[in-house]
């Protein structure tokens, strides 16, 4: 019996963001936009969804008088990502 894939993570842009954040301590919004090639608006929406799910922390601050958004994966986000990868592997392992 396969577990359902986490709908929060099973979306292209949200999965891309979480995969980037799992590899680093924290990243700026501009970095995520650069690496995912997403539009600022779409990325903001998806980041908000990840934040609401408790998978990432979003810190808004000012740097040299410019607003800066920093994203960081939470322990809950790490667990969800690990679970998601495990489920993916079991799907692929079954040959489906």
């Amino acid at each position: 019996m396969f577990k359902d894939l986490d709908p929060i993570l099973h979306s292209q842009l949200r999965l891309a963001v979480i995969s980037l954040l799992i590899s680093v301590k924290e990243a700026e919004f501009t970095f995520l936009r650069e690496k995912t090639n997403a539009t600022a608006g779409n990325l903001s929406v998806q980041i908000q969804k990840l934040r609401e799910a408790g998978y990432i922390d979003v810190i808004k601050q000012f740097k040299d008088n410019y607003p800066q958004t920093i994203c960081k994966i939470t322990p809950q986000g790490i667990t969800a990502f690990e679970e998601y990868v495990k489920n993916l592997q079991s799907y692929l392992g079954s040959g489906t």
Binding site: L5, H10, S11, Q12, L13, L15, A16, S19, L20, I22, S23, V24, K25, E26, A27, E28, T30, F31, E34, K35, T36, N37, A38, T39, N42, K63, D64, V85, L88, Q89, Y91, L92, T96
Partner: protein, 223 residues
Amino acid sequence: MSKEKQLTERESLDLIATMISKAKDSYHDTGIGAIMWGALIAICSIVKLSEIHFEYQLPFDIYLLTFLAIIPQVLITIREKKERKVKSFDDSYMDYIWLGFGIGIFLLIFIINVIFNVWGPVATEYRQLAGHRSAFQFSEFISPLFLLLYGLPTFITGAACKFRPMLWGGLFCWVCCIATLFTSIKADLLLTAASAIIAWLIPGILMEREYRNYKKEQAALHV
């Protein structure tokens, strides 16, 4: 990635792998710090060697330049941290390793000065009594101590960042550390200069080149 797309399991795994590799590839050191310290230590050692060889003395100790170099190093570090859009897990360890190295170097300088203050009068007394200098010259054993310290953070950085030129540079420092135990002070200074060039200057130049290429690639992507 402008639209929401339903992924297959295979596509999901591929996307994860791509993003993890992109994140890992995102941090590039500018190499300026390594270039500065490599060049500075090499110059200081060669100037000291020329002072001994040509029997002249500068009005100041050339190694005092290393204290002055702390100012640009602090400025470089602040600028690099400001420019960085991403913080990796290694960053904080690396900062502490190099900070620890800096503290270690200054403690070593302090220890050597204390030993010289104790050894100086003993050596003078020996010369007066024996009519010749002692065969033991403490200055002959200073370079191995510095080279021992130079090798440590260089080797760790090279291994942790998978940057082979620094890893080999760290090992080269330790080889020179052993060699300088058995060589004259002139050879010690020459080997110290060679270590600074191989451990920091050359890797720094390679890092700087890689950083420039990365910046060019990024600029091209955003045209």
